[in-house]
């Protein structure tokens, strides 16, 4: 570990520590904004762990997230909550592993739409099972878990994701993935087991998404398929991560924060034109910030250094 890395870890820890103080402001409003930011940070970062180096765009986040939500909703009356979270985490990983194994041969847009189709299929199956064998009382998650606790749990999940991401970058796996991202044929010639590396990473992002789904289940109280399995969620995660920049670990974070704030400002001030203005904002972002916020920041940073040097 060199000085630079140590500095980054300290910075990250300080940032997280600072973020953890948010509930102390006593503002429920800031807290629910915080939950949104934390949730998308975890989802987008774990998404980028896989998609950043491999350039595979996955639209399956919603499926794993919904899986986690359902694990908690179904088991909440019989098993302790932490155990359910663990089950959700494992279930997400296993599901992602199976998907990963099945999709090895696909590339580009075929993979994108495959994951979309897969997410829908999982949703349909879960709904069908609930319809035929579920309880008629509906799925309720009634707990004493407050928004503060959910927020801290999400921060902890974020810390976990960053640690994993940092470890992957340092490990042989991360190196292998970067080669795959640049040229899969070259990677295969170097003797890298491209399949295994990709599947492993996909499992990481799948388990994290399922975990987040499980963490948020108590927030919704009443679980229905349309809420748990949201295709919109998958799209939003992709867009935030791409907006920030998927090539660095902290890239998605710089996408999630401005995106959430922008969303907030628009939906707060223009309740009747929210959708329209969000669309316009999207379009502007694409044209004005072509390489994501990360690209823009790096460009500014280089310019500043050249100016100084």
């Amino acid at each position: 570990m060199n000085g630079n890395e140590l500095r980054n870890i300290l910075l990250a820890a300080a940032g997280l520590g600072l973020a953890a103080l948010l509930p102390l402001t006593g503002s429920g409003y800031l807290l629910s904004l915080g939950v949104t930011v934390a949730m998308y940070t975890v989802l987008a970062t774990s998404w980028a762990l896989f998609s950043g180096p491999t350039h595979y765009i996955s639209l399956a986040t919603g499926a794993f997230y919904g899986l986690g939500t359902y694990v908690v909703a179904v088991g909440i009356d019989t098993l302790p909550y932490p155990v359910l979270l663990l089950i959700a985490f494992v279930a997400g990983g296993v599901a992602a592993g199976l998907v990963g194994l099945a999709t090895l041969r696909l590339s580009g847009v075929y993979f994108v739409i495959f994951t979309l189709g897969l997410a829908e299929m999982i949703r349909q199956l879960v709904t069908w099972v609930q319809n035929n064998w579920g309880s008629h009382r509906g799925l309720y998650v009634l707990t004493d878990i407050t928004e503060e606790i959910i927020y801290w749990e999400l921060l902890a999940a974020a810390a976990l994701v960053y640690l994993v991401g940092w470890w992957i970058n340092r490990s042989r796996l991360g190196f292998a993935l970067r080669i795959i991202g640049n040229d899969e044929v070259v990677a295969a010639h170097c003797g890298i087991n491209t399949a295994r590396s990709k599947v492993l990473l996909f499992m990481v992002s799948g388990s994290v998404a399922a975990l987040v789904g499980g963490l948020l289940a108590p927030r919704w109280t009443y679980i229905e398929p349309a809420i748990a399995f949201s295709a919109m969620l998958s799209f939003q995660v992709v867009i935030m991560a791409l907006l920030g920049g998927a090539s660095r670990l902290w890239g998605p974070l710089v996408g999630v924060i401005p995106f959430t704030l922008l969303w907030e400002v628009i939906s707060g001030h223009f309740p009747n034109q929210t959708t329209l203005l969000l669309g316009v904002a999207f379009l502007l972002i694409v044209y004005v910030i072509p390489n994501g916020i990360l690209g823009r920041l790096e460009q500014l940073y280089r310019a500043a250094r050249e100016g100084a040097g």
Binding site: R105, V109, V112, Q124, L283
Partner: protein, 288 residues
Amino acid sequence: MDILITGLLLGGTYSLIAMGLNLQYGVARIMNLANGEMLVIGAFAAFWVFTAGQISPILSIVVVAPLAFLLNWLIYRFMLLPLVRRAKSAGQLEVDSILATFGLAFVFVGIMIATFGGEYFTYSYLAEPFVILGETYALNRVVAFVLAAIMCGLLYLWLNKSRPGMAVRAVAVNPESSGLVGINVSRVSAFAFGLGGAVTAVGGTLISTFLTMDASIGVLFTMKALIIVIMGGVGDVRGVIVASLILGLAETAVASLIDPGLTLAAAYFMFILILLFRPQGLFGRRSS
């Protein structure tokens, strides 16, 4: 027999949903996430014309198609072409077009809500029984199927028999080499994008005769269209037709023989199976 005909009718509906996107994605290389909204706009137009003046939705196609073509052509020319020009790679363009058309979809929904409101819109047109071989079907679905078949047929003939159609196919296969042989790629792409938009809007017009819609429902159609286009193989009219029919038949068979609750699960299962065994889609070409 009944399953076969019901399935074919549903397949016709699906080909209306997906045909336009196939042109837009296959030729112009834009994965248009606002495609479903264009379909809803076509449906809205038909609804509006029908309730205001009792004018048949089928007649309204005459107006809807050129307007949708123009709108989509303008979108490509002024919104998407700059993205195509600045993209350094196919992947970059994919990312950009996902982001931009996602925003565009929001804009469309916003405009529709501002002008028409968010309620369900529905009307009755040709909602009469129509008997084929002793079984009863909805006349509006039969009419939509016939028009879908005519439209697909014309498109296929035009693409394969005419000179401009050949240029479109050339761009679909390889934009770079088409440029080398003197095809104006961006003009052909803009034309294909506009044509795709017009086909989608006409699809919406026809579908509105039997489905109840609202301003926010477009994303459902987009997802279905994406699945069909990918399943059939990008850039091939035959692929879309075959994939639509397979989905229509599979869903109807499952609904009638097994359990209607599993129709969509079965449809996605088919899709996944096909991709696993033919990763480039039914009629897709393997990329080099």
